[in-house]
């Protein structure tokens, strides 16, 4: 599994598609979809928290994917709302755990990939 992170609109999906040769139909925001690319992990974490469930339980299913895309959501002023803070932290912690297990971690910035782990460093 390659974890792909970066801010909004920085080219995560475009990079994953060109790196893999997959097309958009191979990507889905739903964890149960039988496709190799999961998009929007940050939104999945939010939906999981909204249901009162532990996002850490997503780990095994996420490791089954070839690419997991997660928007960086922890780099702003700390929000006043405790639920927003919790979401940012749970997303960050899950990404740290995924990065430990991942064969590659890539950060996209202005469409440019930086390999933080594995790949063509």
């Amino acid at each position: 599994m390659i974890l792909v992170t970066g801010g909004e609109g920085q080219g995560k999906l475009g990079w994953a598609l060109s790196h893999s040769g997959y097309t958009e139909k191979d990507a889905s925001p739903r964890i149960e979809a039988e496709v190799p690319i999961l998009t929007g992990l940050e939104a999945l974490v939010r939906r999981t928290l909204d249901r009162g469930e532990d996002p850490g339980l997503l780990l095994p299913a996420l490791l089954e994917k070839e690419y997991v895309l997660c928007r960086e959501v922890g780099c702003g002023v700390v929000p006043m709302d405790p639920a927003e803070r919790r979401w940012r932290e749970e997303t960050g912690r899950l990404c740290c755990r995924l990065a430990k297990e991942a064969e590659g971690v890539v950060c996209l910035w202005c469409g440019l990939p930086t390999w933080l782990k594995g790949g063509e460093r």
Binding site: G74, C75, V78, E89, G92, C95, V105, L116
Partner: protein, 187 residues
Amino acid sequence: MVILLLGGSASGKSGWAEGFAAALARQNGGPLLYLATMAAEDEESRRRVLRHRELRSGKGFTTVERATGLAGLELPSGAAVLVEDLGNLCANELFAPEGGGEQAVLLGLEHLRRRAAHLVLVGNEVFSDGENRSGGTADHLRLLARTQAACAAWAEAAGTVICGIPLWRKRPAESWFEELVKEAEPE
């Protein structure tokens, strides 16, 4: 040496900062200090403090709590000092009744830089959420940005931790630094 590590929330920056401070203290056999700048005034802050304390336990840190006035802090000689974090320090000096503003932040850090054998600074990556802020928040962000830029200028190594992995913006090219990074890597 001075190391500056930024990161977003739950990015894994603390674990790396602890690893660097502990590794540097092992190298020179000096004391290992954790300088906590957060004034824990509510339940959530207290839980945060407890969580960090647990993560640090067994690593040999002596914890010093100091929200403001770092320039007046007495340090044992040869210490490796971890400061966590610059966002809280700037907020305290700006908004606490006993705070001394920008000057106190910079004098405090300058003092630590001169007295500590090694200084590891944890900062915050908070400048990219697209919001236009005003008032106290804007003052805080500007002070934090200036403070972190000053620290980055002093630092031999400076970078951002992303998903638990450091991305260096500045670092020594020599192999000893590579070794230090290996030794500092959190479990």
